[in-house]
Assembly symmetry: C2
Homo-oligomer: 447 residues x 2
């Protein structure tokens, strides 16, 4: 309040905090600073706060995008000291303490900061095969999920129209690369669509004949989960008709097919739909900060921040979430980003109040992991306690609904889940984007 | 059943009915033929059945597209004699009785018919200024509505970022051209957004300062309604802060502004957002059929079909909905298309059963018109009885929910309406499409 180093109105003398990224981490920073005597600027290139763990349900038509992507400025409307800026951060001048962001119309905006929190998240990693992104799209944004939805539902449309058997089979073969939670969850949804949702709607094809394959280069599905849950999940998927191929890696890919190499040698699978759920790569902002400060990064490009999430060699700069790695190598999940966001927000609030002590290091409280396997089945691993089946599914529902932003979105999501239950046999949001013919054929290229 | 003129399996000997267009008219034809001994092919270039009267609620963030656009093949899944084909009709060979449609991958599909119903709908008309479509998008498809949503909500984002006053005002000025039901409804929603939904979310701008202008070249708003309702609607809009300018036509337009000419002379209004709700033009299929048969069309390109909706000079061909005009000059509304669809479907069912009598002409039963004016206000004109205010709004809600397809969509829509009520002050679906910076600036050009 009494920092008189700057001129201008009273308000501008308060320390400025710039937060880059309005995801799980960034929003928590703003919330933790709500009562601090600071001015927060939250910058994101999208206008929404995305709940990524449910993105696969947008891609498969269960949820509309809006329910899991409320307007970012709505999410922080009660944090009166936070303003939201729609702009894309291009570079950060650590010397002058200025973030430079491109806005749609006003050109480059300079955002000076006293404290900076970079929470840029991660994107897909194609392990040295960037060209695969056009054949096997992944899911990180609402646009990705919409594109995938058009592609998946479009495949059935094309199969219905196909005039020869090979063509029809190519459209009805779906390969998911990567058997982590995202890969397992979308595979389960694909099986549900094929076996229970779509059969009644088609006349020329039997959608139950669709072939759904889940690959992983490692020896297990859901590798971070307890072995018991891995076995359960694999069994459930196989009961749903999914081919689970472990120790099998993608070696090549094109519009028509994917080539894989596993224990039984090389195999070319003709499949028009390939979905990438295999790896992530830190936001390019990590590399930029690494270069500017000489901070090391790991194989996925994540910045090695200090135990208090601070960026070594840059005063007042913190980085959190999927773009960083901490000494205790935490998983790239929402919980870590959220807890780091709250931690750094409080740390900055303390600093502003004059607390100059070395902060106690960030400590992650693992509240457990869970994943759905198709309709009404899930696995959960809560501090060593494993739960499976319908009970785990109910737990999964409760936890995910709880973490959505706003009661409107929570109730709306519950409603769409009830609609998607087996007796209703529908998905409420089956739109194929753009109109008709061009859209579907374009989808794989444009992804 | 016993038509043995054709070889092949038993099934293929049944008369073939091709229906072009899966809108209000086309779907009713398929439903009316559900029990007839025919094979129906329903062709549409989109995969969904669109409930156009609620499109403006997608454009303003109240409803997600999925609720008003269920999968077309889902809508007719119980009509087991109907198959749905995703393809765009390019031409119709009336001699050979074949519809030619382009599919995404299989090239041109030839669909032979014994009976053909063309229900291609209408598109926007810019009255000799086709270039205006890029500056003032209209609403006919889900993509139109999504684009408009990005544009409207993007305008506030750009205003928040604007560094000079003129720029800010340009972003905060919204002009709606055409004061029919669609124009009035979207104007009401724009006023709601500006006055009640958005104010809390912005820091640099006061969204209540947004200028919202509704233009019409004619002397009244809601011209087909009773004069009492016209006066009421105008007063309500003005109370909501809308500038209503009648007898005022658009004469020029560019990215930055719209020039209008009215009673007080010419006026150039600087406004980044212009929305077109002024006129419609029949589907190009109307012109194609007119040329092939020498059938006249009216000023809006609508085919002058016979009293039984048949196309003169083409055996077994019918045209219905917004692309036709009948001797009694019916309005281009959903009710007409639906009733014509049912009428023609039954007529074909009779023909197939051997009834060769001249059918009694199509008779439209006008069930009334209604329009909303912002939140919780509407006007309704039901066979001469006029209703206004909250009661009319409840009536409007009931009727519109009833006509949605499926209980899932009805309940979901009711839920989103409750969410949008004034005390909740939000819109659940505020996504700006594509990510960030590029999207908004692109929107006006790409529209």
């Amino acid at each position: 309040m009494h920092n008189s180093a700057l001129g201008g109105p009273e308000k501008s003398r308060r320390p400025k905090v710039v937060v880059v990224g309005g995801g799980f981490g960034g929003v928590r920073v703003a919330k933790a600073l709500a009562r601090a005597e600071v001015d927060v600027t939250l910058v994101d290139r999208a206008n929404h706060h995305l709940f990524q763990p449910l993105l696969y349900q947008v891609a498969t038509g269960t949820l509309p995008p809006g329910l899991i992507a409320p307007a970012l400025r709505r999410v922080v409307r009660k944090e009166r000291n936070t303003r939201t800026v729609l702009a894309e951060v291009h570079d950060i001048d650590l010397e002058r303490k200025v973030v430079r962001a491109a806005t749609p119309t006003e050109g480059i905006l300079e955002l000076p900061y006293d404290y900076l929190v970079v929470a840029g998240g991660a994107t897909h990693a194609y392990f040295g095969h960037p060209q695969w992104s056009q054949f096997a799209p992944g899911m990180k944004t609402i646009d990705d999920a919409r594109m995938l939805r058009s592609h998946i539902l479009g495949a059935y449309e094309l199969a219905e129209l196909a005039t020869d058997d090979a063509e029809r089979e190519a459209h009805l073969t779906f390969v998911v690369v990567g058997a982590g939670p995202t890969g397992v969850e979308i595979t389960g949804q694909l099986a549900e669509l094929a076996r229970h949702v779509l059969p009644e709607d088609y006349r020329s094809i039997d959608t139950r004949q669709a072939r759904i394959i889940l690959l992983d280069a490692g020896p297990s599905v859901l590798s971070p989960f307890a072995p018991k849950l891995q076995a359960y999940t694999r069994r459930r998927l196989e009961e749903m008709g999914v081919e689970v191929r472990l120790n099998t890696a993608a070696t090549d890919m094109d519009h028509e097919s994917i080539t894989v190499k596993g224990e039984t040698g090389q195999d070319r699978i003709v499949a028009r739909t390939k979905i990438w759920a295999a790896g992530v790569q830190a936001s390019p902002l990590a590399a930029m900060l690494a270069e500017a400060t000489g901070t090391p990064t790991d194989r996925a490009g994540r910045l090695a921040v200090g135990p208090d999430c601070s960026l070594p060699g840059a005063e007042g700069v913190y980085a959190i979430g999927d773009m960083v790695t901490t000494p205790d190598r935490l998983p790239g999940v929402a919980q870590v980003a959220m807890q780091q966001g709250t931690y750094v927000g409080k740390l900055i609030a303390d600093r502003v109040q004059g607390d100059t002590r070395t902060p106690s290091p960030f400590r992650y409280v693992d509240k457990g992991s869970m994943a759905t396997i198709g309709a009404r089945q899930a696995v959960a691993d809560v501090r060593g306690v494993t739960i499976t089946g319908y009970l785990a599914y109910l737990l999964w529902c409760s936890v995910h609904v709880m973490f959505l932003v706003g009661w409107g979105n929570r109730l709306g999501t519950l409603y769409d889940w009830v609609r998607s239950l087996r007796h209703a046999r529908n998905r409420g949001h089956r739109l194929i984007n753009l109109t008709g013919a061009k859209a579907i054929e374009m989808a794989p290229q444009a992804a």
